[in-house]
Amino acid sequence: MSDPIVKISGLNKWYGEFHVLRDIDLEVRKGERIVICGPSGSGKSTLIRCINALEEFQEGEIVVDGIELGPNLKHIDAVRREVGMVFQSFNLFPHLTVLDNCTLAPIWVRNIPKRDAEATAMKFLERVKIPHQANKFPGQMSGGQQQRVAIARALTMNPKVMLFDEPTSALDPEMVKEVLDTMVDLAEEGMTMLVVTHEMGFAREVANRVVFMDAGQIIEANTPNEFFASPQHARTKLFLSQILR
């Protein structure tokens, strides 16, 4: 594999007195799929939100595609253009149609003409298999469909890295699969992905590496086979025993 596209080194973050991220070092190479798991409150969301500067941090350095994001958060805009994000609660814009959700950023950030932006948006809506819903409002769709629109919306910006923060946790069980299938497709096309999820089936199938976090630190990182077959750290074993019943 090639050079790192995301390089996190010596990252430390505090919420007031609370040391939420501790000495995080992580390299993600181009095309790599990383699954981050760990107990609730272990800092997974905070970590990936640092990568696109939704959270600021006090120490360390994050480099995305050669663009440095220091503690003082310079180059935020440049980094955000390279990084797409999918949230647990979809966060679609409810007052815009699905199509407008997908063309907003290309038009207003990349200054692409409306017509071209709409063509691109339709292409991605087809890829997530909901082109015929383009003129609906998000409130009129199921959770699974909304999350697929959210993925399409992020893709319209041609990101080099995609971040997913528990994309299936807010979904009814019967909709989890449609979203995971979309993500598997994306992985097969070679997208670099950082995915926070508890879907261990997805981790086994897609991930190159599984990273286990607890108490703000990376406890263990390994290939899915090794990670599930022979976890090393006691906390990892405990976590896996709770999650794999």
Binding site: N52, L54, D77, R80, R81, V83, G84, M85, F87, S89, N91, L92, F93, P94, H95, L96, L104, A105, W108, V109, F137, P138, G139, Q140, A150, R153, A154, M157
Partner: protein, 506 residues
């Protein structure tokens, strides 16, 4: 209880349709199910009917049945002459209508007021109908071009220069005030305990002022040359056009994509030139009608429309400022909002009318109507700020985060994502404030402006029309006018709310 084995069932004979035993449809059914379906409801229905009986019947009697419809002076509206207990005296309203609409606006110039009303209607109605196209152009005309045209129509007068002269004048004023402030400090330094400090600061400020003076000097020189040229308006206009079009061209992307911006700014200037020519602004314009002659519905509408149109942007700016992470902006917004919410509108109007002139520098006067307008706009702006803030608070944090993650700047996130949603949430509150603003404009009558209500009260003192029912008729008429406008706003807001919230209906 039946046992499990016998619980299976197959229907053999289908039940045929038959009428309901108690009628539930039609008028009778509606009366039965809605008005008389329980003892409490029967009681409420009877109470409601009585209430209607005691309000509607007398109103109709007063306004229509017992009303006098024609006549030329008070004698027609006296019971002795009419032969019955007279209700509304409509000929009085008819005689006073011009005063109620225009105040003391000179009769020969009233066509200007009418034209302004027509222009407003022509621009506003298409703006309010969602189906009609070109909303951007329409809004631009209504919110930017119309106020200027309306000013020159209603007030009259012309212009002596254009953009360049105005810019030069503004810079000159700014520069003079800087030098003035420096000189004040220098004067103070002669007596103060911290003299050296004041002396240094004063000199520094004067120095800065002088530097600015030399920086803007070429502009002022150019202005003076243009003013002397005889054709000052058109020369200045040409210079401004060229400068602004060039700026638009380069901001629009220069040789590559700037042509559209160039064309549209040029078209705007052509339109402005046509307006200047049509209204003769370059040589004096229409005869000036001072605002103390304005009155009646004209003042009510000018004050309320200006208040409505300016208070919303003020409110939005303050609401955003109040949520800002920059402490200075936040503190300013909070102080501003709380100040205006803490004082009654009457105080604001009194202050603006009688005390503000005492504080302003001697040669600086602001028209009385404008002072009241500013007071009302800021006052309502503070209320609108709190309304808007309520809407902003209802937007989940994830919306802003999603927009930021897509790379949208704070300004774009705010104007494309946050505000459109926030304002939709608070349409009823915003319109509520508009309606109360519309009615509060009647308070301007206590600061010597004759709005609809003020003109009405002035007309009461005319002995030609003094009858027992004059005042009642007048107030009924004013009430009807106010009601029409407020009810209209209320209904329209319901319509807009319904339409804009289409996305919330699943």
């Amino acid at each position: 209880m039946t046992d499990i084995a016998s619980s299976s069932f197959v229907r053999h004979d289908l039940v045929s349709e038959r009428p309901a035993p108690v009628k539930t449809t039609g008028f009778i059914g509606w009366v039965r199910t809605r008005l008389f379906n329980s003892p409490t409801n029967i009681l409420l229905t009877i109470l409601g009917a009585l209430l209607l009986w005691f309000t509607i019947i007398p109103s109709v009697r007063f306004l229509m049945v017992d009303a006098v419809w024609s006549g030329s002076d008070r004698t027609a509206c006296l019971s002795e002459n009419a032969g019955f207990a007279v209700g509304a005296c409509w000929p009085y309203i008819q005689a006073k209508l011009p005063q109620l609409i225009y105040g003391f606006y000179p009769e020969a110039e009233r066509w200007r007021v009418n034209l302004t009303f027509v222009l407003a209607a022509v621009l506003l109605v298409p703006l309010l109908v969602p189906r009609l196209p070109a909303k951007g152009l329409n809004a631009g005309l209504f919110f930017f071009a119309f106020p200027v045209v309306a000013f020159f129509l209603l007030h009259g007068g012309g212009i002596k220069g254009f953009g360049l002269s105005w810019t030069a004048g503004l810079l000159e004023l700014f520069d003079e005030s800087i030098i003035g402030a420096g000189n004040v400090l220098l004067n103070l330094s002669k007596t103060s305990a911290v003299a050296p400090l004041l002396w240094a600061a004063g000199n520094l400020i004067v120095l800065i002022g002088t530097a600015i003076h030399w920086l803007v000097f070429p502009l002022i020189w150019l202005r003076d040359q243009i003013q002397d040229s005889g054709q000052s308006v058109w020369v200045d206009f040409a210079v401004t056009t060229v400068v602004v079009c060039l700026i638009a061209f380069f901001l629009g992307g220069g040789l590559r994509t700037g042509w559209r911006a160039l064309a549209s700014s040029f078209a705007t200037f052509v339109a402005i030139a046509i307006v200047i020519k049509l209204m003769g602004l370059d040589h004096g314009g229409l005869p000036i009608v001072l605002t103390n002659l304005w009155g009646g519905l004209l003042v009510t509408l000018v004050v309320s429309v200006t208040g409505i149109v300016t208070s919303l942007p003020i409110g939005i700016a303050l609401a955003l400022g109040r949520r800002s992470t920059i402490p200075l902006i936040r503190i300013f917004s909070i102080a501003f909002i709380e100040f205006w919410r803490g004082v009654p509108l009457i105080t604001v109007l009194f202050f603006a009318t009688y005390m503000l002139p005492l504080f302003l520098p001697g040669n600086f006067t602001v028209d009385g109507l404008v002072r009241a307008l500013i007071g009302i706009a800021l006052f309502t702006g503070a209320y609108q700020a709190e309304n808007v803030r309520g809407g902003l608070a209802a937007i989940p944090r994830g919306q802003g985060e999603a927009a930021a993650a897509l790379g949208l700047s704070w300004w774009k996130t705010t104007s494309l994502i946050v505000l459109p949603q926030a304002l939709r949430h608070v349409i009823p509150n915003l319109v509520n404030s508009f309606i109360s603003l519309f009615k509060d404009t009647s308070l301007v009558s206590i600061v010597a402006l004759f709005d609809l209500l003020g003109s009405l009260r002035a007309s009461f003192s005319d002995p030609k029309w003094s009858t027992p029912s004059t005042a009642f008729t007048g107030f009924a008429f004013a009430g009807i006018i106010y009601f029409i406008f407020c009810f209209g706003m209320s209904r329209y807001s319901l319509f807009v709310e319904h339409r804009l919230n289409a996305h919330r209906r699943n």
